[in-house]
Symmetry: C2
């Protein structure tokens, strides 16, 4: 495994989704799934997760063809995690109808010797205790990013705070940033969150893009405007995948923040734009359908188009 490989821990799941554009029943989803496919455009990825014996083997093979190491995906007897959700006209917010944790309930990530050497670590929005367990195993990561969600912010706030103390970058939805900080203004909210640990905070705002806070510096990144939004599921995870992939490809480490703060901020800005572009593909179809069809030429074309849309 090359030195710029990413280790990502998160869910592999079946999603049943209803959006204004249609329905999808038991399609492939989960944060590690979206993250790794997006990251694979930039960098090798290893994923750590758990699936039931109903999870299609061909899907894992498909991930493997994309530089994604799935040896950390444990298959156990039982059913795979299943999320049932819907979106109304406001496509920025998912409504969870049911969550069947199934085998995910007993997920206990144990890393191999090889995985413990990961340079880049991404902690999907799983139980913060498990996030810490993963961090305890990875020996000397150069950069750690994590995500979280309402469920853990309200359910395990103290454990989440322990996680946050140890990460470099937090990627979080706008509403979750307010919930986590107890603030109603985004500048004040991020001030509070940075004081909890991560010096870099990315606030995801759905169709309105994202804000990157690098210490006191702010970068306002727009979403790429697409003509057809079919399903926003996985947008945030694929955003994080492309973001982290971009940083891994550029071999960016946390030490850069002190060595060359300007370069650190610059590369984070470009990584955020890579995330925005990837997310814009994800939402164009259900599941990973669009990402799995995406080619390098299309990716570059949209990156260039986005650059033109922010140029002054």
């Amino acid at each position: 495994m090359k030195s710029h490989s990413i280790l990502a821990v998160g869910s592999l799941a079946f999603d049943s989704i209803e959006t204004p554009a249609g329905k999808a029943q038991s399609v492939l989803g989960g944060s590690a799934n979206y993250f790794s496919v997006a990251a694979s455009f930039y960098s090798p990825v290893q994923i750590v997760g758990i699936v039931g014996d109903d999870f299609p083997r061909p899907h894992l093979e498909l991930l493997e063809k994309r530089k994604i190491d799935t040896s950390g995906v444990k298959t156990v007897p039982g059913k795979t995690f299943h999320w049932v959700g819907s979106y109304d006209k406001n496509l920025n917010e998912a409504k969870t109808l049911s969550t069947f944790l199934n085998v995910f309930e007993h997920f206990d990530p144990m890393l191999s010797e090889d995985q413990r050497k990961a340079t880049y670590l991404f902690l999907g929005n799983i139980d913060p205790e498990l996030q810490q367990k993963v961090m305890n195993q990875v020996k000397d990561p150069e950069l750690i990013a994590c995500d979280s969600m309402n469920f853990w912010i309200t359910g395990k706030p103290e454990e989440l705070k322990k996680t946050l103390k140890r990460v470099d970058i937090l990627s979080i939805n706008e509403g979750e940033a307010y919930l986590l900080s107890g603030q109603k203004n985004i500048i004040k909210a991020v001030d509070k969150i940075q004081a909890m640990g991560p010096s870099v905070v990315i606030v995801k705002r759905g169709e309105y893009g994202a804000i990157l806070f690098t210490g006191k510096n702010i970068f306002l990144a727009p979403a790429f405007p697409v003509e057809t939004v079919v399903d926003p599921t996985g947008a945030g995870d694929s955003f994080a995948g492309a973001f982290m992939g971009y940083l891994a490809e550029a071999q960016v480490r946390r030490s850069l923040a002190k060595q060359d703060p300007k370069k650190w901020d610059d590369v984070l800005r470009r990584a955020v734009l890579a995330g925005c572009v990837m997310a814009s593909f994800t939402v164009e179809d259900f599941s990973m359908h669009r990402l799995l069809k995406l080619n390098h030429k299309e990716l570059v074309a949209r990156q260039n188009a986005l650059m033109k849309m922010i140029e002054v």
Copy 2:
């Protein structure tokens, strides 16, 4: 009056507003008021409007001190237009509680010889029949921009379409763009709106900024993030004022679109950013309190700060 003077027609009003930050009773507002104060940082402005004999003369004097020609403001017996509204947590959308048109109901803009020579024309969100009446009087404007609102989109759609056929630029809220076009996606919505007339459409998205469509070109402009939002009233009008003021100061005319499309797009982008910056000051206090205290140094500092927040 200099050749880059703007003629703006719109309302002068009293506003009674409740926001999560507090209340303001019968404070000065109205689109022409916000517009002209914002534009006055860049260019001379003439306003055309109507007020009742309850409107404070010192306020008009204050506008006059700011290069704003108020000779087109007619004072008639009766009460000034009064808007009563509130904002809940979602500060992006005003809820109208009452509208007392009062003397505004009989507004019939008649321009002086001098006003008919205006180079830049801004039509606030008044009755589209009145917007046309103003256009009929201005002899040879070099650039016409207009605003509209739900009330006219649903109430006088045919008249509004006649207005739109004759304007170069439409500035409109996101929700209103959907209502006007019958589309749910912003790209598709603006396609339809451009087919109605204006080749330049600015979609205002509140705290998420604005999108500029110059023909097929898109510019994604973020709002400047402020720490304290007191009252969003007038943000859109002061956005338009700074936008138009910027164009007037640069002596930009519609002919530039054909002569030098790149320069036309560039200057519109910068004008939109000027609008975003001005709006960010407006929302920091009730009424025009913040704008009337604003100085050039603060304005330039925030413009520079916003440029840094979009730099890649």
